[in-house]
Symmetry: C2
Subunit: 688 residues, 2 copies
């Protein structure tokens, strides 16, 4: 009996711990599997190639990817990655989401007040330093030591230079720490954006689906000292032709956090507790914002981007939930975990160091499970999804944190991290009171619903007013909608802020103790414990299987590889490319399948056979939006904007048979700019 078990374990272990399968992996630039790529595709990227790709790639700090594509700081990303900027530059009379934008001359390029572009210039190992600083520590002491050492490393690296951004990245669930040093650019301007109707053709119904017809692109330009950045040294050129089926391609982007190395207990927790909660919350909010949008064209305009983000996140989470109830996927994950545990348990030394980690994860999750609602409401949604409250909180927190030693501050207020926070706080984006009230009312109602009207914090917050009354008082009463007041209060010393009688500032102050307590409990309690045990599991995996794997996504630069490849689903074979003719066939005249006038007018100027979107077997997840899709010559053959429905399971694993990246093909980017938009300035810059 025992014997059979070991054999089964060994087989499962081989499958589970073998180097990742062909095309799987979101690889770091300092551990890219060149051997494997060469073996599979006959091309071996050398160090110069990797360095060039790394330096031509761009990370957008708010959660997207991009790429330099000209010598004058031009970058390409998705329309949906720049849509907050496009919306902020819109008004009731000038709806740039609906009608698009094109700066005819460089001087007409307006600033995006909240976009930060980062260029990774160096990776340095710091695992030893972190290990030393946290050695022998546990719980809150471990969390404090880890935070302090990170802050010190980041501050040494950034050296008070706001043009540098330094992040200590926790890789392999805490098994490895690397310092990522970026050149930081906060003057990013809008050059071109198409109409939403073509950028997001098919809307939410087609989102995460394929075949697809999205021209999901925007062009931005990085400025330094009010001049376009000189990016001669590293940028991607547009390939002359679209890619071919089977061709080797790469994506260079910044995948968000994934859960591929989480334990089964963690996945069960997501399935039973956290994901359903998030979906219930978002589904209801979607309902409210959808109805708000239907009330008037202006409401539709001001809520458009918000609704996009809500729906996109909702569909992604529903896809994740569907993956977690798929018996096959969970069985594979369970088998892999069993295999690793069996191997660890069979070796006394491994067992004594790491054997208890899995059960400890389970126990910790169980202990914090009753806090799930509190964490969702007070930490994940601690700004009550209200921009004005977020501003107030940033001011209140900055005033408090600035007086502390750097290593003790909340992470986003350290010297190294505050420039990003400051840029958000001083944004010149318009704030819409009716939408702010809706969001704040919703958040307050949820607070009362989920924690119950008798909860002490709920009583303190809502008191004897209804959520709607309180929200109206705060939003109507605050002056934080204008960035001048925010600037003044930020520059004022804490005494100056304390003197403010702005009701939103007062409200932020009132609720701050409980928000901090909840955050502390999650970071120093739950997260610190999970990191501790997860890093034990990671080390066990290193010992058993070596370091030939990739780490879970961490919103930092990664390189993936794969091929242009269709797939088979629901009994149908799906071709890797869609073509222009398909777009016109799919258009109905009713949103979201209504084409903008520009594309209707340009129909004759476009070749019906021109590839439009394509799918590739590269391994991407959320955060990769805007990644360049490049060939082995490091030329752009596409612009990543989405994954197919099976890609939503990518948070938990990679299924090479069906998981696909979706990109806009390079040919239609050229054709669209030239023949639909006649964006000659842009076209000639791209050709140069």
């Amino acid at each position: 009996m025992k014997r059979l078990k070991v054999v089964i374990a060994a087989i499962a272990l081989a499958a589970a711990l073998a180097p990742a399968r062909a095309d799987e992996g979101m690889w770091t630039f300092n551990n890219f599997p060149v051997d494997r790529v060469e073996k599979a595709y006959g091309f071996r990227p050398d160090q110069a190639w990797l360095d060039h790709v790394q330096l031509a790639s761009v990370r957008l700090a708010e959660g997207c990817s991009a790429a330099f594509i000209s010598a004058r700081g031009l970058i390409q990303t998705n329309h949906h990655c720049a849509r907050q900027c496009i919306e902020q530059l819109s008004s009731a009379d000038n709806n740039r989401i609906a009608y698009g934008f094109y700066a005819r001359e460089e001087k007409d390029e307006p600033k995006c007040s909240t976009i930060e572009a980062d260029q990774l210039i160096e990776i340095k190992p710091v695992t030893e330093r972190i290990a030393k600083a946290t050695s022998g520590k546990d719980g809150a002491a471990f969390a404090a030591a880890l935070k302090a050492e990170r802050a010190i490393i980041e501050q040494e690296c950034a050296a008070n230079d706001d043009n540098l951004r330094c992040d200590v990245i926790e890789l392999y669930n805490g098994g490895v720490y690397d310092l990522y040093k970026y050149r930081r650019y906060q003057d990013v301007r809008l050059v071109f954006a198409p109409e939403e109707a073509i950028a997001f053709f098919g809307g939410d119904p087609d989102n995460f689906e394929f075949p697809r017809y999205n021209f999901d692109v925007s062009y931005l330009r990085v400025y330094v000292d009010d001049q376009p950045l000189d990016s001669r040294a590293h940028y991607f050129r547009y390939a002359k032709a679209d890619a071919r089926p089977g061709e080797l391609v790469f994506t260079s982007g910044n995948p968000d956090g994934t859960y591929r190395f989480d334990t089964i207990a963690q996945l069960a927790f997501q399935h039973d507790v956290s994901l359903p909660r998030e979906i219930f919350y978002r589904a209801e909010l979607r309902g409210q914002v959808t109805r708000f949008s239907a009330e008037s064209p202006e409401n539709e305009r001001i809520a458009r981007t918000l609704l996009y983000y809500i729906e996109n996140g909702l569909k992604a989470r529903k896809g994740a939930f569907a993956t977690l109830v798929d018996p096959t996927i969970m069985r594979n994950r369970a088998a892999a975990e069993q295999a690793l545990r069996a191997t660890v348990d069979a070796d006394p030394a491994l067992r004594s160091s790491y054997g208890a980690a899995w059960d400890n994860v389970k126990t910790v999750l169980q202990r914090y499970r009753p806090q799930a609602d509190r964490f969702l409401l007070l930490v994940d949604n601690g700004d009550f999804r209200c921009t004005l409250l977020q501003y107030a909180q940033q001011l209140v927190r900055h005033a408090e944190e600035a007086g502390k030693p750097d290593s003790e501050r909340l992470s986003e207020y350290t010297e190294a991290q505050f420039p990003d926070t400051r840029q958000q706080l001083l944004s010149s984006a318009p704030v819409y009171p009716e939408l702010e009230k809706l969001m704040l009312t919703f958040s307050l109602s949820k607070l009362r619903e989920l924690l119950g009207p008798d909860d002490a914090f709920v009583k303190k917050v809502v008191s004897t007013r209804s959520p709607a009354q309180l929200a109206a008082e705060l939003v109507d009463g605050t002056g934080l909608g204008g960035s001048e007041l925010r600037k003044r209060l930020l520059d004022a010393d804490p005494v100056g802020l304390a003197a403010s009688n702005d009701p939103m500032i007062a409200f932020a102050r009132t609720i701050e103790p409980e928000l901090r307590a909840a955050r502390k409990e999650r970071e120093d309690g739950l997260n610190a414990a999970l990191t501790r045990y997860a890093s034990q599991i990671a080390r066990a995996r290193f010992k058993v299987a070596g370091t030939s794997s990739y780490p879970d996504g961490t919103s930092s630069p990664r390189l993936s590889y794969g091929a242009v490849a269709g797939y088979s689903a629901g009994g149908k074979q799906i071709a890797p490319f869609t073509i222009v003719a398909g777009l016109y066939e799919r258009a109905t005249g009713a949103r979201p399948f209504q084409l903008p006038l520009s594309w209707i007018a340009a129909r004759a100027a476009l070749s019906p056979e021109q590839p439009f979107n394509l799918v590739t077997s590269t391994d991407i997840v959320g955060g990769n939006s805007g990644s360049p899709l490049i060939n082995k010559d490091a030329e752009i053959v596409g612009l990543v904007f989405d994954g197919n429905i099976y890609n939503l399971g990518g948070d938990y694993g990679f299924d090479p048979a069906v998981n696909r990246t979706i990109s806009v093909s390079v040919g239609i980017l050229r054709e669209g700019l030239a023949n639909v938009y006649h964006a000659d300035r842009l076209v000639s810059e791209l050709i140069r």
Copy 2:
């Protein structure tokens, strides 16, 4: 090894199959456990007592319970059970939900156009007949034979008398079939309703919670031939005093379908597939209707009851979901199933008859799992939640079904069942176009979202219009909002209906084939197979443990027993009664904690110590709303209106430690009528 397993199985079996624990059980009137009640509480109900309680109890056909409480056909139920009627009798100028209603004289009692009250007069076993009719049949043939035999039995019983209602009830998951014969009353009028602010004090935040302060009552009167019903023979009297802690009490009501005898595979299916889908759907709809309500006082009024039902159902489902992710409950259920299976497998005869049933259930669920969205959208929400479309569908279906033999009709169009359907169809309730458009737009959007824009049915339905355009065309174009047209089209022969050019009728006709196909697939495919295997499991359970248990809820009359008893939760001991003083303490002045003026004015006239709501250990679920809470003298000591949060797990099991029924105590019913509302006519009728 095997031996130990058997011992464990035997222990679990004893626990699982022992007669239901004290206080557990929703018992049929023909199998009430008098011995057990006597043993636990020293009172043995005799047959006369049981008959009296049965005949004084009332089933409301739309899904609630009630009780006769006077000799002149007066019945008591919840405010929330009559709220559709109260809303239908309201207008913009006369909001009876907000301000309540009291008919000063009998002649002022207005008719509730969609309430049907049923009085159970006879139960007859028909298991043998059903078994004979379905013997040896499987799949669609089994489903057809079962449906036909039911229709024949019901028609024989009702004998074309619309004043009788005959339902064949499937008990013990198909292990037993009984014929329930009711006296049917369709002329039910409104006598009294309090303001919603006190009926539903605390609103959604306090819903399913305790302590509680709801005056959730309404009084209705049954009329026959335009005269109050003579109900002298059987009605409940109000007890002189409130119940005492520990006192034996009973609830007589109509519990909805429960899942206490479902297999683990069925529960997993609910957890993974059906419940999340329903919650996602409802949460989003709640968001839309909430925002719609906030747009104007009139929107608030017309959507109030709809929103109530959505929120109530949502909270109930979230509670059910929470139960299904509770490891303890699921472990107990799994142990019980394992125990029964082990016992069956150990006996060759049992094994050959029933051993495969559990795996067969699992296989069937797996097979139909890809249909989950289709069933949700085309069957559960096949009327697209649009009243006008529902009317059109009823007309279209009636025209088609009326031409078929009774035994082949859709169940709600048989001679026995159609009176209920006809009452709904001919309702004089107002229809609000803006709300109809919202619901239809939402349903069409969900259809496109969940089935995908490329689904053939979606293409046929939505075509080239947007959901909002289509909904506006249909709702603005139809004449079905007025009941005269519906009456005319119902009376017209099928040829008359065919001549109608009403766009909603045309739309109903267009989508009918796919709706019928989906329904047929679920009823004849999924449900028939599940019934078949579930009845095998039920028979196995009878063989192993006898018939000393109760069946799952079936929306038909049941009797439960228990005691007035507090409970302990979250480390706190919760007393069984709340008192008047607590109501005034909990009031804040802001909805939903705002008291109506009547209760503010009456404060001095009420004793602060007067019990308000109470909890009892009786076993109820949804559908029991409005049940009388009676003592051993069959006097009313309360009016059931809710369960506590642990009661939401009652769909899957009964935890006597914390599962509690919540009722309005009889004393506050008297006091409220006399001293808050000065409803003298009603008070004197109740005293008589």
